[in-house]
Symmetry: C2
Subunit: 141 residues, 2 copies
């Protein structure tokens, strides 16, 4: 997702209606690098839109995925997280605090084909302990 404006016109062009609820979800996603889950977004949006429902959040996330304005991450194994940054980049998951961090590397494989299979997308997930949690555990000792 480049910016809210482009995203809205993309949705409009595809025939989707621009409801205030959708706008609120999109605004919470723009430039958001915290990789929120559906419930994170629901809680956030609810502050401004107390009557918004889960179904609407999921519906909006689904169509944003369809028009490729966001990507799904399954790094956390329990819930799906969403990333409005659709540029190719990797992710790090801290097994201590559960945070997901962006990782930008140069040697990303630009693979279009592998073993005869056609590749659309590649997700690289790193798992470990983040720098903050490392520091915290060193202090404890």
């Amino acid at each position: 997702m480049e910016n809210v404006k482009d995203c809205l016109s993309k949705l409009k062009a595809k025939g989707f209606k621009l409801t205030p609820q959708r706008l609120a979800v999109i605004e919470h996603l723009e430039g958001n690098s915290s990789h929120p889950s559906a419930s994170d977004l629901f809680e956030e949006v609810k502050k401004k839109y107390p009557m918004i429902s889960f179904a609407t959040v999921y519906n909006t996330l689904r169509i944003l995925g369809e028009v490729q304005e966001i990507k799904q991450l399954t790094i956390g194994s329990d819930k799906v997280n969403f990333d409005p940054n659709t540029e190719q980049h990797d992710h790090f998951f801290c097994r201590e605090c559960g945070k997901i961090m962006d990782v930008f590397r140069k040697d990303n494989p630009e693979v279009k084909e592998i073993n005869g299979h056609c590749v659309h997308e590649c997700q690289i997930y790193f798992y470990g302990i983040c720098s903050e949690c490392l520091k915290a555990s060193q202090k404890e000792e």
Copy 2:
């Protein structure tokens, strides 16, 4: 998981008991490259052990993960899949048929540290359409 024998002695050494149910799950995992889910394993094991319960399958999978005899894959986004091959390799997910395939590549990053975070594990997931589904769709046209 190298072989059933080593796996069993590893469990024994860690103080886990070797029940027939666990053995059945382990035998179904050895050399299994189909990346089964918990319910796949449950159904398979049930053929020999009609009285086995889901809880036991999950329990066994949990301890096998603890002793690092299997790895969890979250490539499918809905359920977790298990891989008894713990050697570093990647995976391909076919969005058409849902199959998960092993991908062995040479240029895997051997990353131990990234942006100050300590890396324990790396999972690389490719998404697309597998060679078989590509063939099938070409025939249709």
